[in-house]
């Protein structure tokens, strides 16, 4: 184990509490209703949204168990409870099932498994004398409507984006890929959250080696008993990527179903995560992060031009401040004679060295950016104006920074906005600081 890992473990590893698995192992459904209910009510004590509704089905006592809020009350009333009350006396299991007017149901003998499914929005029906639990689908999670993706904006082409609901997200993919070759495998990650994660691929297109590798890695995550939660796809990305410590993203993230479909057709695998509007694509190379959905909807010449522009933006955003520092500190020769006097004059009035100036300005710009991202729209704009005034004008007038430095930082910041992928842009933005240090000292 490397030194770094050991330090990391010392710092964070020791304080992690052990996670108990409440519904681990198998427990057979008892034919005595009261036994089952006693076990369940103890398990779900102090659970506010847990509902246990006793009723008589065909003359024998029964109970409907479900979680309020994630189930549809109307379906329960009209599709399950109503018909069950009218069930004939001493009905058998198959007759009971015939009574229920909801199409999606299942019978389980394992109570733990049944309870786990109940936690996902199903209604659990337990009957006296039946050693099976009946699960009826009445799930109705709160969700938002399908809307335009926020971070993956495209000017032309489809405007649908993923939402937090996995089934809907997969439906968006399915709508574009009407083929039986679209396969998927489901994983449950996180001991407490049990987040549903779906690995989709196109059979015959995807490389078998790749598929096996992704499956193994997801399986390893699923088997991690000490991993409490998976709340978003970014967590999965960190867990299954090759170099988790690298600041650069190694899986492509997107909120667009059309991008996912394009990648599936190209033979890659897609990972959809319940509760996250961001899907992942594996594998992804450095240059994949510079593609946008618009590239496919534009004329090839414009698309190529904008893509090259983005590469240029990467170079500018990472190196222009460092270049300024290096040129002003070491290689003044390359500044044209007509500009050098102007630069020297403005620099001579600034008390800070060009290195300090550059670091200061970059940090200020990052502060402004971070502030405006977290604030609501109207206030964000105020921050923008304030930043422009403070950084742009006041700092120059007060001779704290040279005007050229402001231009340089502005150019580098604007360039960083050209990188379509946020993760990539952040990683590249961070690169600026070591480069500025290198420019000044090496």
């Amino acid at each position: 184990m490397s030194l770094w890992n050991r330090i990391l473990q010392k710092l964070i590893g020791a304080n992690q509490p052990k996670i108990e698995q409440p519904l681990a192992g198998k427990l057979a459904v008892s034919p005595r209703l009261e036994n089952n209910l006693a076990y369940i009510t103890e398990l779900f004590a102090d659970v506010a949204d847990f509902v246990c509704r006793r009723l008589s089905v065909g003359g024998r006592p029964a109970a409907l168990l479900y979680l309020r809020g994630i189930t549809d009350a109307r379906v329960i009333q009209e599709g399950i409870a109503g018909p069950l009350l009218q069930c004939q006396h001493n009905a058998s299991l198959s007759e009971l099932l015939q009574c229920i007017s909801v199409s999606n149901f299942a019978c389980l003998q394992d109570l733990h498994q049944a309870l786990l499914q109940m936690l996902e929005g199903k209604v659990l029906l337990l009957c006296q004398g039946l050693s099976q639990a009946i699960l009826v689908d009445a799930a109705n999670f709160p969700k938002r409507n399908i809307a335009q993706p926020e971070s993956d904006v495209a000017i032309s082409g489809p405007q649908e984006g993923f939402i937090e609901h996995l089934a809907d997200n997969f439906a968006l993919v399915r709508r574009r890929l009407r083929t039986p070759k679209l396969k998927s495998r489901v994983f449950r990650l996180g001991a407490l959250t049990r987040t549903t994660v779906m690995l989709c691929y196109l059979q015959d297109r995807v490389g078998q080696q790749l598929l096996a590798e992704v499956e193994t890695r997801l399986q390893q995550v699923q088997d991690q008993v000490d991993l409490p939660d998976i709340l978003d796809s970014y967590a999965i990305m960190e867990l299954i990527s090759d170099h988790p410590r690298s600041p650069f993203p190694q899986l492509l993230q997107t909120e667009r179903p059309d991008v996912i479909v394009a990648n599936l057709v190209e033979g890659r695998g897609a990972i959809l995560v319940d509760g996250s509007p961001v899907a992942l694509v594996a594998p992804a190379a450095f240059f994949d992060f510079f593609q946008t959905a618009d590239d496919y909807n534009l004329h090839p010449i414009f698309a190529a031009f904008t893509r090259w522009l983005r590469f240029l933006a990467v170079v500018i955003s990472t190196s222009v401040s460092a270049l300024y520092v290096a040129v002003v500190t070491y290689h003044y020769e390359i500044i044209p004679a007509r500009i050098i006097t102007t630069i020297a004059r403005t620099r001579s009035m600034v008390p800070l060295s060009s290195f300090t100036e550059a670091i200061l300005m970059e940090i200020t710009v990052d502060l402004l950016r971070e502030a405006s991202v977290r604030l609501p729209g109207a206030v964000g704009q105020v921050i923008g104006v304030l930043g422009a005034l403070v950084v742009g004008q006041a700092a120059v007038q007060a001779n704290i920074v040279a005007p050229l430095m402001v231009i340089v930082v502005a150019i580098s910041t604007i360039s960083s906005f050209l990188i379509p992928n946020n993760e990539q842009a952040t990683a590249l933005r961070l690169l600026r600081f070591p480069l500025i240090v290198a420019a000044n000292f090496l």
Binding site: H331, I334, I335, P336, L442
Partner: protein, 370 residues
């Protein structure tokens, strides 16, 4: 081990390796070195030298084709019998490392004369060597990939250098036959020294996936010859031969006359950009040296220790204080030895192998890959 050797190098990467092994520091003073001997005949001398280099590469190809699944380090011993082969390879590897050190030191003397007058030599050369060593020790895949990536920049610089942006007076270049045939022929020798480095072909040949490895090598040599010829024409046509002959680094003086709109001093910009190319050249030379030396040391010696000792040697090489004049002398005496060793001895090996009827195992991997 030989059976497992994978074909990991594409034809393009082979092209890059050869190109970058050759183009390095030579371009800065080629016009002067050849001009001293061949006068204005340089314009004939350099293409002729290019043709000769191409012939030598063909010899290398013949040798490599006899042993398609082995590198030079493996079959040289077989051809020359173990003790002699070991001595041969040891010298070969040390010479490659010496060339790597010489290239970096020469570049430093240029940089210190031109831009960084007060920085100590070590501050520039140690990190350079460390970076190159770190790439070269990671083996053929990483080396080829790094060289390929840097090569895109190199090719751009080479193409830019070949554009005649500053006026050229052809009267300065004429008459090309000034020194007669004798002068032109004598000039071939110093121009050949500028093409040292393509022997990496012998080292990476068994890894090459391309169907036509010789074509890749030949294309690299042709491009180098074109590049040398055009830049020499431009330099002499602009500076005049007399001024070239009294300039230590004629290319820099030539670039000094060119003002870019944004970056005024093209010479300084070029000097900074060319550092990457020097890194590339040193990587290729170090890689050659390391691979050959791996064949010499016994199997039980750990590779890590070999690599570390090579690093220490290289660092000692760049740290060793030598005056500029003696360094020039050193380079002048090293070039013929290196040329004989790297370019000519493989031809002799091929001859011996052919006479002794030695051949490597036939490979079907190559055909499969094709």
């Amino acid at each position: 081990m030989q059976g497992k050797r994978q074909k990991v190098i594409t034809g393009w990467q082979l092209f890059c390796l050869i190109l970058n092994g050759v183009v390095g520091i030579g371009i800065f003073n080629l016009a002067r070195q050849v001009g001293e001997v061949a006068g204005r005949g340089v314009l004939l001398t350099i293409p002729l030298a290019g043709l000769l280099a191409l012939g030598t590469l063909a010899g290398h190809y013949l040798l490599a084709r006899r042993f398609p699944r082995q590198t030079l380090a493996e079959y040289a011993e077989k051809i020359l019998s173990p003790p002699l082969g070991k001595i041969y390879l040891g010298l070969y590897g040390v010479l490659s490392l010496a060339l790597a050190i010489t290239v970096s030191r020469s570049y430093w003397s240029l940089v210190s004369a031109w831009a960084l007058g007060r920085t100590p030599q070590l501050a520039f050369l140690l990190p350079l060597i460390l970076v190159c060593w770190n790439v070269a020790r990671r083996g053929v895949v990483v080396t080829a990939r790094v060289v390929e990536l840097i090569n895109y920049g190199t090719l751009t610089l080479m193409l830019l250098l070949m554009i005649p942006v500053i006026p050229v007076d052809l009267d300065y270049v004429r008459p090309v036959m000034e020194t007669g045939v004798g002068g032109i022929l004598r000039g071939i020798i110093p121009s050949l020294y500028a093409t040292i480095g393509f022997d990496v072909f012998l080292i990476v040949f068994p890894y090459v996936r391309s169907r036509r490895p010789f074509a890749a090598g030949a294309a690299a040599i042709a491009l180098i010859t074109l590049f040398y010829t055009v830049t020499t024409l431009l330099i002499i046509g602009n500076l005049g031969l007399e001024l070239v002959l009294i300039n230590t680094w004629p290319l820099q003086t030539y670039l000094h006359r060119f003002a870019l709109a944004v970056f005024e001093r093209a010479d300084i910009v070029f000097l900074i950009a060319w550092v990457f190319q020097i890194i590339n050249t040193v990587i290729v030379l170090m890689f050659t040296g390391m691979t050959v030396l791996q064949g010499v040391v016994p199997q039980k010696v750990s590779r890590r220790w070999l690599h570390l000792s090579i690093l220490v040697l290289a660092m000692a090489g760049v740290a060793w204080p030598v005056k500029f004049a003696s360094q020039v002398k050193l380079v002048n005496s090293l070039s013929p030895i290196a040329f004989f060793y790297h370019a000519i001895t493989p031809l002799l090996l091929w001859l011996i192998a052919a006479l002794r009827g030695l051949k490597g195992e036939k490979t079907d991997v190559q055909d499969q890959a094709a």
